[in-house]
């Protein structure tokens, strides 16, 4: 019995049944909440979570919220609206540019970007990227890419202070969204659904008390490639399933692969599952079609990120 991509296959019907029963029990008996709020971005994860919530609680007890801001991809809003309509969920739009300007989020970020690229200004876009994992094991060093108004890309390694400030200011986005979701959840006595998948949840690809701030995370145990299987079963529209996952954070279009995961999901998920199941490195390498050294480096990268994620997932510490 050899290790292959088949190992990532799930029984979507059984998984859906298991997840929705668990959601119903915990949101009702544990939390004493009477429905659920889901922030929907037009991406695959939040779409699957909305569909699961509707199955768990009934369409009239689920509120989908789209939260566009001035740097959002403009087609996301239509995708979110159509999705809510398809599943019969309640739907509202909350414009987030106001709160973000109130926090001076854009200004604080661009101040740091300008320290690295003094020419940065109106019409420019920016994003932070990590280089892909290769045969050489390396620490995670972030790069800043700007795109000039005429479409030219420039990239530099980020000094620590500017890196931290750009990330800190960008985090206003996720924390403001959490704040808005909880406003509606608190108002309706609903729970907030966290839409992170296993890759995001365990490797720490979320903002503490931002998108990480939720009551229940129905797909946090599923690899991204498994979320796609669930999406197909649940009838998520193809135009959502075909989109490249982005960070939804930076003004320049930025894929999750270039910002954080550093390898394609089909490879990363397989290498990670192999690690969990203690499959020999060579066998994983063969199944994924990469070298043994790359497998080792990807696994090291995942382990390092999981260590960092501990802080992000930790409850506030206190003495007894």
């Amino acid at each position: 019995m050899s290790f292959s991509k088949e190992a990532l296959k799930i029984d979507a019907a059984a998984e859906t049944e298991k997840i929705t029963r668990w959601m119903r029990q915990n949101v009702g008996r544990q939390f004493h909440k009477q429905g659920a709020v889901v922030g929907i971005s037009g991406g695959i994860d939040s779409s699957v979570c909305l569909a699961l919530a509707v199955r768990a609680f009934g369409h009239d007890k689920v509120l989908g919220i789209a939260m566009p801001e001035s740097e959002s991809n403009s087609e996301s809003l239509d995708l979110a609206r159509n999705l809510a309509e398809q599943y019969g969920a309640k739907f509202i739009v909350e414009e987030m540019t106001g709160p973000l300007k109130g926090f001076k989020a854009y200004d604080r970020r661009d101040e740091a970007v300008k320290k690295v690229f003094p020419e940065f200004g109106v019409g420019y876009k920016s994003k932070i990227v990590l280089p892909p994992v290769t045969e050489k094991d390396s620490f995670n060093v972030f790069y800043l890419t700007i795109i000039t108004p005429d479409g030219q890309e420039k990239t530099k390694r980020l000094p620590l202070t500017e890196y931290l400030q750009i990330v800190a200011a960008s985090n206003f986005k996720q924390r403001s969204r959490m704040t808005m979701l909880y406003y509606h959840a608190d108002r309706l006595n609903y729970a907030v659904i966290g839409t992170g998948n296993k890759n995001e949840h365990e490797q720490g690809f979320f903002v503490k008390f931002g998108d990480g701030g939720a009551d229940i995370k129905p797909i946090a145990h599923l690899f991204k490639t498994q979320v796609y299987q669930l999406a197909e079963y649940l009838g998520i529209p193809e135009e959502i399933r075909k989109r490249t996952p982005t960070t939804d954070t930076y003004s320049a279009e930025c894929t999750q692969e270039e910002f954080f995961f550093r390898v394609p999901f089909e490879i990363g998920d397989l290498v990670w599952l192999g690690m969990e199941q203690e499959v020999p490195v060579d066998e994983i390498a063969q199944a994924a079609g990469i070298s043994a050294q790359e497998v080792i480096n990807i696994q090291n990268d995942i382990k390092r990120k999981m260590r960092t994620a501990e802080y992000l997932k930790m409850n506030p510490l206190h003495l007894d």
Partner: protein
């Protein structure tokens, strides 16, 4: 016609248990101590009773002895109905 007991039970199952009828509790069980309703739920229950039965529940009546089990609620409603009959 639906009994008062049944109506209240339906409200609770529908609103606090997402219609899950496998959660068993009998008409004398404490709703708060069995984790079926929390303090916000009690306020919702008060709203429901006021609207459904056209009664006005006083502040000092929102106490466990009137509202913390289906049977207590039924007894409480009956005293409310009686006082209304006398008053009218």
């Amino acid at each position: 016609m639906e009994s008062i007991e049944q109506k209240i039970r339906n409200y609770i199952v529908e609103n606090f248990l997402f219609g899950d009828e496998t959660v068993l509790f009998n008409n004398d069980d404490s709703l708060s101590e069995n984790g079926i309703i929390d303090s916000t739920g009690i306020l919702g229950l008060v709203n429901f009773l006021e609207n459904e039965y056209q009664i006005s529940i006083k502040n000092e009546e929102i106490v466990p002895e009137n509202l913390d089990s289906i049977n207590k609620i039924v007894r409480f409603l009956k005293t409310k109905f009686e006082s209304m009959t006398i008053a009218s």
